[in-house]
Symmetry: D2
Subunit: 400 residues, 4 copies
């Protein structure tokens, strides 16, 4: 029987060429798999047909948007996952989802290989290959761009030689990846890190400096899941989409940073993630109200490690699962509403209410009704400071 | 010899009354110590005289602004210290400075007691008392507001009865603490956490929603110390002051949060810290460019712990000193310039340049000149993913 | 209705006196609750009757041994919980169990108060009171020894005056707490930390320096739970008891340390915990075989924090629950057998076998059959070292 | 000019063959560098001559023992560095030392390449290459065993063909690496992880099960540095050597574990490190007496990360330097004496005394002279438990 390869297909030049390239190189049949993760752009049916036109024996497209929102974006939101305190892991979240579908297709169609179109200096190759290794440890991985010399120039030559139905001329000056959780832009003049981004690189967000009316939105969460916008029930996907629209219209969620890639180099990245940033901002503030102090403090470390792991391609790792268990337990009472002001590029929490609140007005108030027993403080302060005091007395005794 | 008490004196009603209150209660002489930490307001000489008029036997005022900037704000900046990822530790930084001066005054004037005017439900009592315990382990602490019933009503009655030269009528609806690093506002209608702050509560920042021209500033750092603004040399204090003015004019640095106090309760706090937020933003981005990945990742944990310790009143603790040594070592190469756009409440890094940069254009570029050897990637990816792959294969073998 | 107090009753002098002391002080009826947590010593029925003889209106005794083993010792084992890398949390584990029963008894019997006999400088007062606060936030806590002057001398006088059926003469030179997980000894000549412990202080362990035959035991675990000893099925309690006997006979599990108490002081503690140390040793080694590297590394931090929290009286805290979720997830594949050599005070793993092993002979061997592809290593090493190399090159370039 | 290669030379078969192998392969001159790190065995002069006899143009041997003890073992001791809570990093510490000398020799002799004899599945290749990359970023690395097919069989054939003065017949069944800090043994029948080690594999330690007299030793430290043994001044090297002898004679320091290698696999390792384990045990207990609680807790995390970094070949990394700064600061008061009982494979602290002690007898004692104010405890306990109590009350209110 002819061997089969499942290819992560985007519809673009590289992976369109890869269909024929892999077929020639391996003699195998190529099955293309493409998914809608909210990236917009071409119709999925057009993409499906193009793969067939380029020589795929099967072409599968799937609407993965709800799955992406529920199983990949939501855990990131609950972890408040921001790599390097900034980046909400746009591409890092979609890769394991695609891996899941690639491996499922490989099993269904009896393929022994899986292929991707990533280069050898980015993070995505790691996310694809480590993910495939985890879900399909017996599958062989092909990376024609990285391992068999399928450069852009050769890809164009191949496409023209074979007459593939894909444009080979116009090329964006940027390298772009986008999905419903956000959009990443790199290369071009941004590789000079002293250059600021220009308005031209953005698509999900309006210019925050344009004067406009502020927007105000109330986001409701139930056990850490966004479940309502301004009182109307939403799915996770709808929450992200509606906030992409509303926060994006106010210029919220633009990021410009120098980032540590897993492969050991620093790169310049520009992101826009209006919905993600608005949701994380609201979620963090609701946690401030409903999560106990020690748990909140340790959860920061957990969230940071979670973001590093996912950024580093370890979505399917045992540590990731155990951190997920921690985060899931922490979300039990993250229920309530946060009012956000959206304006001028900022999403700011201005109000919070929750049945599960740990904020106790009577303990907090300096007004009448104060129930806090200040007589407890003296003993607390003295024992709290005892270790420092003993150490300081020792230091003085020893003259240091 | 008559015993002596050194009192942390602010010039306000509570500590003015405390002079006489403590004298009556203890029979001791009271020495008032007040410091300029950039809080603005009354002239320090006026404050000095008022303490004497209220019965102090000595009244000391000092300009502590440069010391505050160099020894307290700067370490916080280098640690990127943001309690709960938000709050740049405004009050928590000034307390240990004041403690230092109180204890020095106690030693100089032969006092056996130190007094403060804090209540029993806030963090500042801890910062004062633990700090005093560390620097002057033999000093006794007096806290008349907390421990001997000096309520606001009794303080007013006392002031009127004694004819103290201090206004007892008008009272701000808010409780405010401010210094050059920022300003904290609490109580009043903000104790209802669903209420948003109104423009009235802010002093350091203009309304970010007002349309105005953007400002652009280039901040230079040398080994983690801000040393120039737009190319002109500055002291740390000048850097903070100039950025307070320029970032404040753009509405940068407003914060509104529910916060975990050390004494075990949650409280609502509103802050404004335009200079601090602008400096931390710039410093973080320069670290992204100049600090190696593993160090950067661990430094986040260190910075978080640093902020918790300082918030919790443990400025003088042994752990704080060891974390300081870590941070100091990390700053060696944090040298370069960051260009910030200030506008509409946002401070955004748009450019970075540094002789000490670890960003390597030739390794990062996708253009001609790329020196990254993609042939290394395959081996890296496979061994990187090996533990996850082995675990996944095990899980599949065991059917879990 | 007369108020009721539930008292944590041990059968000893202090808590026997406390029955009458509390009754006199509060006018309330006292209900004594005592539990068998494997401490040995007197018959529980004798203890039950003594409480009644001392004036309790109800006296409840319960065999809590299996509950203690399954719900308190087992999570500690799975976390490899060793406070300060040494102490397996003997007393810290039994307090929350007793709290659970005290609060249940208070609810059942309509008591509004709970009492304990702890002093004010130990950890146990914290464990009792914080636990009671968590499970019964409305219950009032009484601590007669700490808060109402019930010193040892006064207790003896009270007992003699009232003719209580409890010996008041002989007093151990040590303060002892023991349960099935271990035994703690303090005070007496051990308070001089230069003194070594003498054989006299030990009960659970034989002198390790006595020559004797070594013992070898194979402990089987299923998903992190000890389920067999030398191939015979055991409950968790039986595993602990059998290993207490066998490891104790070899002198395993003696500990002598200076320890950081939560109340801010250091104390000298001597422990013996033969079963706990043998089980943790075996469990750690089985984790080495079955848990993936990154998970194992992070789990050390989790285990350390878990031990600190439980030591610090925060068994019922939200963070403890979330850490439990992490640990539980990590145990899924901790299944297999560990052979331990027990001899001369040492428990040493000498063999391990597991269906869930991640040790792969063919990848590990240097012999024929090696399947490790060494060709992958070069790329891995180079990218692994890239960040350090770039940083070092920068440092050299800048001459630092 | 002929190119030059500096080779890490051990005197054994592999690196003796590598001299000629590399010369043939590259046409370069080979400079052999060997160091005495306390591994014992052959005379260094014999080793020096053998390299020349095998074709090296230069052969350098150096006594690196004091440098190894002072600059590599001592920081490990101060960090209490135990990889996976067990392994004191024997080989991981010597590699960066050798790298330092290799790079120095390369600079001195104008070599452009450095070579090592490691395989592609161990940790040492990483330690060599990452270290060389850090100290000599321009140097090229050769790894003939890994990269150019120099298998054991080919090495023997090469040696016989060239008539190299090195035995090719007898081969230890084990792979061994040893230095003054310890000794590592692997492969052979130990690759079956159910097999226990036999007495035959050990050299540094006597059988702990043999009855013998116990030994007692008092180790003095000054600021974290071991400076006396039983009152007599020692260098760090002498401290390690003397304790290797005395603790080794009692069977202390044998380790048998399954370990996570950096290259992604688990391996079985047997170690013996009598001096290291005795020193770390004493150092930890002196830290328990002299280091404040919060610092001690955080230092555990630092020490764990330090051990991982050094194990993973990142000795010269920026994070390692920053962790060193933390550890150095923590050692300021780690001064005093620890009495250890050495017997039957155990090193147990039985006494501690220190001018810098934070143990305060008067605060700790339950006897007369107690200065601890128990009146402080109630307030402390209540505020300490407040967050848990509020969370528990919330949970009950919501019925969860």
């Amino acid at each position: 029987m002819t061997e089969r390869v499942v290819l992560a297909y985007s519809g673009g030049l590289d992976t369109s060429v890869a269909i024929g390239w892999i077929a020639e190189e391996t003699g195998a049949e190529v099955i293309a798999v493409a998914g809608d993760v909210g990236q917009g752009g071409e119709d999925m049916e057009v993409i499906r047909q193009r793969a067939l036109d380029c020589g795929a024996v099967e072409s599968i497209v799937a609407d993965m948007r709800d799955e992406f929102a529920d199983e990949f974006c939501l855990p990131a939101l609950q972890a408040n996952a921001l790599y390097m305190d900034r980046y909400p892991l746009v591409s890092a979240l979609s890769r394991p989802l695609i891996v899941k579908h690639l491996v499922a297709a490989a099993k269904y169609h009896g393929a022994s290989m899986v292929a991707h179109g990533c280069t050898g200096k980015g993070n995505d190759q790691v996310r694809f290959e480590v993910g495939i290794g985890a879900l399909g440890p017996d599958l062989q991985v092909l990376a024609p761009v990285r391992d068999s010399g399928m450069t852009r120039d050769k890809a164009i030559a191949f496409a023209e030689e074979k007459g593939l139905p894909i444009a080979t001329t116009k090329k964006s000056p940027y390298s772009i990846d986008q999905n419903v959780w956000g959009r990443a832009v790199e290369t071009g003049f941004l590789e000079d890190i002293w250059n600021g981004p220009i308005e031209d690189v953005y698509e999900y967000t309006q210019d925050p400096t344009t004067p406009r009316e502020a927007d105000e939105v109330t986001i409701g969460f139930t056990a850490g899941v966004p479940t309502s916008i301004d009182g109307k029930p939403v799915t996770v996907l709808q929450a992200i989409e509606q906030l992409n629209a509303r926060a994006g219209a106010q210029g919220v969620g633009r990021l410009d940073m120098v980032e540590d890639r897993l492969v050991g180099i620093k790169s310049r990245e520009v992101y826009e993630a209006p919905g993600a940033i608005a949701l994380i901002t609201a979620h963090q503030e609701l946690e401030n109200v409903t999560i106990e102090r020690d748990l909140a403090r340790f959860k920061r470390t957990v969230g940071q490690r979670w973001a590093e792991l996912v950024y580093d391609g370890l979505w399917f790792s045992p540590l990731k699962k155990a951190l997920d268990a921690f985060v899931a337990e922490s979300q039990q009472h993250v229920t309530g509403e946060i009012r956000l002001a959206l304006h001028g590029g900022r999403a700011v929490a201005t109000g919070r209410r929750s049945e599960a609140s740990l904020y106790d007005f009577n303990l907090a108030t300096y007004d009448t009704g104060d129930t806090f027993d200040q007589g407890l403080a003296k003993g607390f302060v003295q024992l709290w400071g005892m270790p420092s005091k003993l150490a300081a007395a020792r230091d003085q005794r020893l003259g240091s």
